[in-house]
Amino acid sequence: MELKIRKHNETYIIDIQGELDLYHSFKLKELVSKMLEKKITRFIINMEEVEYIDSSGIGALIYVVSTVKKQNHQIVICNIHGSVLKVIELTKLVGYFPMANSIDESIQMIS
């Protein structure tokens, strides 16, 4: 799994590539924690290139969403599809996660 960061105005987009599984999910938690330390307040998690997620990956998403929200900052997860969406549905986290269909929609939700 790889994480890439790009910036759109004051919003930071994290592009995840690969599998958000039990061996890699901690990297996302670490990255977002570091970004929060650097006073970043607006996050978009782009899941377009994630085809596999497990309970550790779901746990990492719960961690980043709850941590960012607790600090009254903003976060949206976008482009969730395929089996990743199915796992989120099975876990009944649709509604809990701030979700969008695209980066553009995420930017609109945040600004």
Binding site: D21, L22, Y52, D54, S55, S56, S66, S83, L90, K92
Partner: protein, 182 residues
């Protein structure tokens, strides 16, 4: 679906524990190889029920629980897996050498509260029930694997009394339904 199936059951004599005709594999409890072991099992499944990789993901969670929480990643301890896949069903039994998942009742109660938040669309309160944790949990545990399992395995999630052995089954809708005349 009955409410009973939304709870983890405890029943040594449950029909899902019938191993007759099932395939069998045994693996050492090597945490690094959980996904590989899962692939070794799932490769037998017909593509109709793989649903991209959802079947693999759900089986991987059960094997992970056995390797990590059951056998504490002790490679001297084995995980035994019995399984059968058809075009319309997946049935798996996973046994570890650990002391068993002792918190089944607590888990069922926790899950009931979680489902009640969800039914009320109380996503604020749901935030308190997104992860089930015990003293055994660490930062890598999502604490949500069995929430998905109880939804996914629609024929039941059953533990033995000792709770170191779990049986799960899912039936899939068949694509070409034929009309049965009884």
């Amino acid at each position: 679906m009955s409410d009973n199936k939304k709870r983890i059951q405890i029943d040594n004599d449950h029909p899902l524990f019938n191993k007759e005709g099932l395939f069998f594999k045994e693996f050492p409890s090597d945490f690094r190889q959980i996904r590989y072991f899962t692939l070794m099992v799932v490769q037998n499944a017909p593509p109709e029920i793989k649903e991209i990789n959802l079947l693999e993901q759900q089986i991987s969670e059960i094997i992970k629980n056995a390797v990590k929480h059951g056998n504490h990643n002790d490679t001297n301890k084995k995980v035994k897996i019995w399984y059968e896949f058809t075009e319309s069903s997946a049935h798996i039994i996973v046994e570890d050498e650990g002391p068993g998942f002792q918190k089944l009742k607590e888990w069922n109660d926790f899950n009931e509260k979680r489902l009640s938040c969800y039914a009320r669309h109380d996503f604020e309160e749901l935030g308190n029930y997104v992860s089930y944790r015990t003293e055994d949990s660490d930062d890598h545990d999502g604490g949500n694997a069995l929430f998905a399992a109880i939804e996914y395995w629609n024929e039941g999630v059953v533990f033995t009394q000792k709770a170191n052995c779990i049986a799960l089954k899912k039936t899939f809708p068949t694509r070409n339904r034929s009309i049965k005349i009884s």
